[in-house]
């Protein structure tokens, strides 16, 4: 009888809190959004299921959670807590990204820089709300709209906020089609939205091969803290473009990135235990995250309009909104909004340029923030 009571005391029901219950519901909502709305399903679904797993109350003394040394989840989460998974994801992204769009239109790269304003404004906002500088840096990076970059920087600057920051980043990335269009319509005139851009030129194989090597050296020298992220991104791209390492590129963009995505999403989800996750801090982080996406979008649009002051061949300012990375969703949003005005205006390829430049921009920002705030 004692044994049965002991058994019962070890079931999850005994320790279940209201917070755990809420987090499990949130996990289910994430899964539902992934399946029904198709919002970034490759990440929201693993995170959602992980959140359910992480909120099954664990038994005192049994190593079960991502925070208990020796548990299975601990070893899986190791790739997150040490920042190992994000560069491996970037390797796969590099091996699947065609940078042609950017190579044929270098001036659009600057839009990818402008959108990083979201990061730095949010950093100031987070400081204002009382976060330490390191925490503020990690929160700001949500505005980079890049899950792996956000996880990488958080693991270095504010591991205790990693769950909230990662969830915020991925949630808003999933919501890009909801967040961006109103801002885009508000900040552009109909005439601007109708601007057509000329077809990008074709890029030679030689250029595609020279690009990752040179671009890596430039960015890594300027921000060595971004070494791991941009190194893997451009390494993956070189594997793809070299023409002689196709089998490696293929593995990087299939088996490797998929394995890492599964383990990263699941264990980030499992790190959101109500006890550490449901805090006022998390609420503030979600608020700041939403603001950062808006600021980033607005900055991209504004800078595009600013550039038009000097350009003969005008840019459609909508393209600036794609400077927040969220590849390729924000580029699609640009295409969609432009097509609403003129069904024959194809901006997708032009939007891809600031879109991938934004990935680079936020990786550089992460490197800079790590070096200044992490030491």
């Amino acid at each position: 009888m004692d044994i049965l009571l002991h058994f019962l005391s070890t079931t999850g029901f005994a320790e279940m809190t209201y917070g755990n219950f809420m987090m499990i519901v949130i996990g289910i909502v994430f899964i539902a959004l992934a399946i029904i709305k198709d919002y970034e399903p490759l990440l929201l679904l693993p995170i959602g299921f992980g959140a359910i797993v992480g909120n099954i109350p664990s038994i005192a003394g049994m190593p079960l959670s991502v925070y208990d040394e020796g548990s299975v989840l601990y070893y899986i989460y190791f790739g997150v807590s040490k920042g190992i998974f994000p560069p491996l994801i970037f390797l796969g992204i590099g091996a699947m990204t065609d940078f042609s769009c950017m190579l044929s239109n270098p001036k659009l790269v600057l839009l990818g820089a402008a959108a990083q304003m979201g990061i730095f404004i949010t950093l100031i906002g987070a400081m204002f709300l009382g976060f330490t500088p390191a925490e503020a840096g990690a929160i700001g990076i949500i505005g980079g709209a890049d899950g792996p970059t956000a996880i990488f920087l958080s693991s270095k600057l504010a591991p205790h906020l990693l769950g909230a920051i990662a969830i915020a980043a991925y949630s808003y990335m999933a919501l890009v089609p909801v967040i961006q269009p109103p801002i885009m319509k508000l900040m552009t005139s109909k005439k601007e939205r109708l601007i057509r851009m000329s077809a990008p030129r074709e890029v030679t194989t030689r250029e595609k091969v020279l690009f990752p090597v040179g671009a890596f050296i430039i960015t890594a020298l300027i921000a060595p803290g971004s070494l791991a992220l941009v190194g893997m991104l451009f390494f993956g791209n070189l594997l793809k473009e070299s023409g002689v390492t196709e089998r490696l590129a293929e593995t990087a963009r299939t088996g490797m990135i998929d394995s890492v995505t599964i383990l990263l999403g699941f264990s980030v989800g499992a790190s959101t235990q109500a006890q550490t996750f449901l805090t006022p801090d998390s609420l503030l982080i979600f608020g700041l995250g939403a603001a950062s996406f808006c600021v980033a979008t607005a900055s991209g649009l504004a800078f595009a309009k600013f550039m038009n002051l000097f350009l003969k061949d005008k840019i459609n300012p909508l393209v600036g909104a794609a400077g927040v990375s969220a590849v390729p969703d924000s580029a699609r949003v640009v295409q969609m909004v432009a097509r609403d005005e003129d069904p024959h205006n194809f901006l997708l390829m032009h939007a891809m340029a600031p879109n991938v430049a934004g990935v680079l921009g936020s990786a550089v920002a992460a490197g800079v923030l790590w070096s200044v705030l992490g030491l």
Binding site: M102, L110, A113, F120, L123, T204, A223, R247
Partner: protein, 93 residues
């Protein structure tokens, strides 16, 4: 999180504005340089083509076209087996 007092003093104490301005500048400089590099790429590619003319490529004269899938160890294995099979057939007949 330290004390949770919403205040501009926190920003001043943390050097927030300076960090943001310098950070943003660095990001701009980095992407500007990348953009310049990209703008120079066609010239750089042309220069490379001069020192190492595409024809120097041991696969033949179509060097700037995408080369075929890597002749990996696995693939070459297959080649070898194929060669061997062909050879055996010839020597047996």
């Amino acid at each position: 999180m330290q004390q949770m007092v919403f205040s501009w003093d926190n920003v001043v104490a943390g050097n927030g504005v300076a960090i943001s301005l310098s950070g943003m500048s660095i990001v701009f400089v980095a992407l500007l340089l990348v953009s310049v590099y990209i703008a120079l790429l066609p010239k750089l590619a042309a220069f490379c083509n001069k020192i190492i003319p595409p024809a120097a490529h041991h696969h033949g004269p179509v060097a700037s076209a995408p080369t075929p899938p890597a002749s990996s160890a696995g693939a070459s294995e297959a080649e070898i087996v194929a060669a061997a099979v062909a050879y055996l057939h010839k020597n047996k007949g």
